[in-house]
Each structure stands twice: as C-alpha cells, then as structure tokens.
C-alpha cells in the first residue's frame, strides 16, 4: 500500500479544484475505517472504497455483488458493473451471488455503500419507479442487491444533493432506510443495519437517534446551511454548531484521477 501511495504521490499535479463527484468520493471514502468489510457498488462507492484502501484503510475488504471478495481494482480498468471479470482481479475469493449476499445476512459485512436516485426524510431509497408505480413516469432499473444491502448493513449513500432527489416521501421504497422513522424498521422485521450517513456534494447527513429523521452532520467547505435547506425537498434541521469538512487534499484527488483517468465516474 505504501508503495502505491508513494506512486500516487509522485504523480501529484497541481489541483486547481475538484468536481462534485470527486468531492463525493473523497468525503465518503473518509467514512470507511481500516479493517472494515464494505459491500460496494460501482461508480462513486467503488472509487471511494479504493481511495480509502490507498490512504487510511489499507486493510479494507471490498465485496462486489457479482460474488467477489477482497479484489484489487487496477487503475484505469474500473469495471462497468460488479458482475464482470474486471471486478475479480487479484481477489481473495469468488463465490456465487447468493453466497456473497448471504454474507450480509450472516453479519459479515460492516458497511453497505451505494449511490441513490431518490431518498426521503427517513433514508428510504428509490431506484424502481419515478411517479406512481402503477403508471410510472419512469421505470428505473430496480433494486439489484440494493434492497438486501440496505436491509442488512449499516449504510453509506453517496448522491447529488438536489431537491428532486431529496423528497418528503419516496415514490417507492426500493431499499429500506428507517421506513416511517422511530422503531418502524425493527418492527417490520429489520433489526440490523440502517442508514448511517448520506454524503452529498453539499455536506454529510445523518439520522436522529430517536426520530430517525435526516439531520445535517457537516457542511462541505463553502456550503451554507441555507444551501442545504434550499436543495432539500423537506424540512431538514441544521445544528447551529455544525462543523465544516476538510476539503479534498491534492493526494486524494491525485489517487482518484489515476484510478479514473477518463473520468467515467468523476466528471
């Protein structure tokens, strides 16, 4: 790891700024801890997980839905999904899809990490229907493993902060957050896991321990409480003393840009 970090450091170029996607990847990567096992989707989650591996969490174990345990993704060869052979490079173990998803159920996964199309006050995610599910405006691709991951692991979600995405109630609960808040998640048969953090291009969001409603944990540099409120489709409390995150470092950005030189996921 040290060598790879040094190598990334060597290719360090002046960093004029960063894209919103780069910000998401950096901020969410920092939430991962060394020694954890993280179930990662492609795109920002995967970039963030590799970034964490190459910085503060060299012992992070990545899992992919296709059945991949502990891979090392090669710079410039990001997989198009979590189900192709590119995902398996230098993995420790390959298992069936059912087995890797059962690792969530067995409790072997610390963190689930995915993107989101639509989220609501209680952290419920929708990736199935925009509009009425019986007469949808858009039929989206659906859950994949999203429902399983969100049902069984502590969740980090990375997504763009837009009013149309942060809604009072999602059109369809594809992946459960805290459902109707309070104890409703456990009451309906999901005693484990739950939303931990939502990382956006504006800040880092958490959930109140009792009501389970979304709150603001931190603002990104240059973002105001008003910016968050204006881009959220429901009333979201911002504590008076809310901290500000540390801006992405040149080292972090250099690693990301080496990983995704064509900016497939970080444009």
């Amino acid at each position: 790891m040290t060598t790879e970090r040094a190598r990334a450091g060597l290719s360090l170029a002046p960093v004029p700024g960063y894209t919103g996607s780069e910000l998401l990847a950096v901020m969410s990567g920092r939430l991962l801890k060394d020694g954890q096992t993280v179930f990662a989707g492609v795109g920002i989650p995967l970039l963030a997980a590799i970034l964490a591996q190459k910085t503060h969490a060299p012992g992070l174990t990545i899992l992919f839905e296709g059945g991949v345990i502990g891979p090392f993704v090669e710079a410039g060869k990001l997989p198009p999904s979590t189900n192709e052979q590119r995902c398996t490079r230098r993995a420790n173990m390959l298992v069936s899809i059912t087995e890797v998803l059962l690792m969530l159920q067995r409790g072997y996964v610390d963190v689930g990490f995915m993107g989101g199309a639509q989220i609501d006050r209680f952290g419920n995610l929708n990736s199935s229907f925009i509009g009425d599910p019986n007469a949808p405006k858009i039929r989206l691709p659906g859950t994949g493993g999203g429902n399983d991951i969100a049902s069984l692991a502590d969740m980090i979600v990375a997504m763009k902060h837009e009013k149309r995405r942060f809604v009072e109630k999602v059109d369809f609960i594809t992946s459960p957050g805290f459902l109707d808040g309070g104890q409703t998640r456990a009451e309906r048969g999901l005693p484990a896991g739950g939303m931990f953090r939502v990382v956006t291009d504006l800040g880092i969001l958490g959930f109140d321990d009792t009501s389970r409603a979304m709150t603001v944990v931190a603002l990104h540099p240059g973002v105001s409480a008003q910016d968050i409120k204006a881009n959220t489709g429901f009333d979201i409390p911002v504590p008076a003393d809310v901290p500000t995150t540390e801006a992405p470092t040149p080292e972090e950005l250099a690693i990301l840009r080496e990983l995704d030189p064509q900016q497939l996921y970080t444009a």
Partner: protein
C-alpha cells in the same frame, strides 16, 4: 409463479432421462426443448455468460409467451421483449448496464404495460432458485421486509402483480422473529453458457458462477451452450471442478463465443463497441431501433459465424485479448 407441489416436482423429474449419455446437438434442435409458455431461467448475470447463442436461436425459431427469470437482466432483456419471446421478466435489475443508463427498450415496453418487469431483491432471486434446487417450497430470509418491493410482489399495493405468488412473512417458531419466506422457482428450462463441458453435460465454470449452479439444479430441463466440448476423461480427472452435473442436463451445444457480445470469464470481455452500437441504435426510437437491431443481427445472419462476423472480427479479437488478460498476473 407459485411453487409446484412436491408430487408434481418429483413426477416431472422422474419422467426425465437422467442417465449418462451423449447429449451433443445443434442450436436448432436444442430450442425444441423450449415450449411456448415455458418459464425459462437464464444463466450468467448482467453482461457475463449470457447464453446469447441460445436466445438468438429462440428468436429465430419464433418462440413466444415465455416467462423469463434471471439474476440481473441486461440487453438480452430488451431482445426478449422486442422479439416477442417474452412479455414477462422476473429479475432484480434490468438495464443494459450502469454506464449506459436506463434501458429505453425496457421503459418503452413496461411503461406502456405491454410487458411486465416483476422485481424481487437480488438475494430473493438467489434464494428462490436455491429453494427450487433443494426441493423445498420456500427459503426463509431477512431482507425485502418493510419495503415496497415486498408489498408489490405480495399484491398489497398496486394491482399489477397482485395475481402472482406472494412472498409470505412468518413468525419464527424458534426465535419469534419475523422472517420472509420466498417461494421456490423451478424453471421449466434453464439456458446456461459455460466455458467447457463434456458430451454428457458435466460442466466446469471458471471465475464467477452467479446463480447458475442453483438454476441447473432447480430447472426441469437444462440446455448448456459451451465454448468447447471436452472429453469425459478430462472431466473425471478433476471431479471436484464439475459445477453442473450431467444428470441435470438435457442438451449440449458447442458454440464458440456463445455469449457474445457479453463476456465469458477468462475467454473474452464484453464487446464494448458493439454494446455502444446497440445503445446508439436504441437511443432515439427504442422500439424501431431494437427491431432494426434484430433484423440485422438475429434474422439476417446465415448462421452463428455470420452473426459474429457482423459484430466484427476486430471487435472479437479485442474482446478476446482483454478477456484472457485476467490470467496475465
């Protein structure tokens, strides 16, 4: 798609010839094992080991009214809808792939209610096949609970899927916990593409196996397409590498590049330029684009080699170069 009674499941299996015998045949003959109205389970996942040669032969044989199930559905789902092979797909995720965005063909058919996309969680799909493979009517699990995915398949919300077998919650008699029971899938036919198998159907799979082992055990008939038919002697030298056993298999067809333009682990990666071409062709007018694609790549080719030729030699060589690279380290 309610689970079969045990006596019916056993009866169907008893009627099959499960003996060790040569099953090598042609694509044209193999598709005769698929009846209109059958539930067909598709091996592989997303753009990996999709049994495209068999699907291609099903389209050319003008099969219809199939119910199709798969772990995750990519472009072959568009082909199923657009060709009329199927108007009902059971899966957890359906689109060409994340980098190409939401499938416009899927949207066109489902939003107009001319086709159904029945959505289960990915683990639920896996456990439904597993229950079928184990000969029990359900598997207990701990996800889907509380979500609208469950509500929709259970028929509590929305009339669209109400007629179909619901997953059922139960209170665990040991722990008192709430569990979800998902019903077994025992497909009429499974179609699976593998790297190699023998003439009897003993198949070795390299790399990712997805849900294929359970699908083969669950199905009532199995058609294997294979990159290469190898000798039974070679299989018997490493019996612990046999992942699908001959006793489940009804037909074996040797088809090189049988999952093109998708990948086959260790042999070829996806044919990305062709995948882009497909996305372009279906971008503006998805239905007309899909029909034009079917005409050019499914109906016009003289044979499978001609199909590959239309995809292009340079593309094939590039996919093969990238595919074998997984073993370079």
């Amino acid at each position: 798609m309610t689970p079969l009674s045990y006596s019916e499941l056993r009866q169907r299996t008893r009627e099959r010839d499960r003996s060790l015998r040569d099953k090598v045949t042609t694509l044209e003959d193999a598709v005769r094992l698929v009846q209109n109205g059958d539930h067909v389970a598709v091996g592989g996942c997303t753009a990996s080991r999709t049994p495209f040669a068999l699907i291609w032969a099903l389209v050319r044989a003008q099969k219809h009214d199939l119910t199709v199930s798969r772990s995750i559905v990519s472009t072959e789902g568009d082909i199923f809808y657009a060709s009329g092979l199927s108007r009902h797909i059971i899966t957890s995720w359906f689109s060409q792939g994340i980098v190409w965005g939401v499938s416009k063909v899927m949207r066109a058919y489902t939003e107009s209610k001319r086709a159904r996309f029945e959505e289960w969680s990915h683990m639920a799909m896996g456990l439904r096949y597993r229950a079928g493979a184990m000969g029990v009517p359900f598997m207990p699990m701990r996800s889907m609970l509380g979500s609208d995915v469950l509500a929709r398949v259970s028929g509590d919300e929305g009339p669209a899927d109400a007629a179909f077998a619901a997953a059922k919650t139960m209170e665990c008699p040991f722990t008192g916990e709430t569990l979800l029971l998902v019903p077994a899938l025992n497909p009429d036919v499974a179609i699976i593409h593998v790297q190699r198998c023998d003439a009897y159907g003993n198949a070795q799979l390299d790399g990712l196996t997805f849900m294929d082992i359970d699908i083969a055990m669950a199905a009532n008939r199995v058609i294997l397409t294979t990159e290469r038919v190898v000798s039974n002697e070679q299989i018997r030298r490493h019996p612990d590498q046999t992942k699908i056993g001959f006793f489940t298999v009804d037909a074996v067809v040797e088809v090189p590049f049988g999952s093109a333009p998708h990948e086959c682990y260790g042999l070829y990666e996806p044919f990305y330029s062709h995948m882009d071409l497909y996305a372009q062709m279906t971008a503006r007018d998805p239905e007309a684009g899909a029909q034009a694609y079917l005409e050019r790549f499914y109906h016009e080719p003289k044979n499978w080699a001609d199909y590959l030729n239309r995809i292009g030699m340079a593309e094939l060589l590039d996919a093969q170069r990238r595919g074998s690279g997984i073993y370079d380290d």
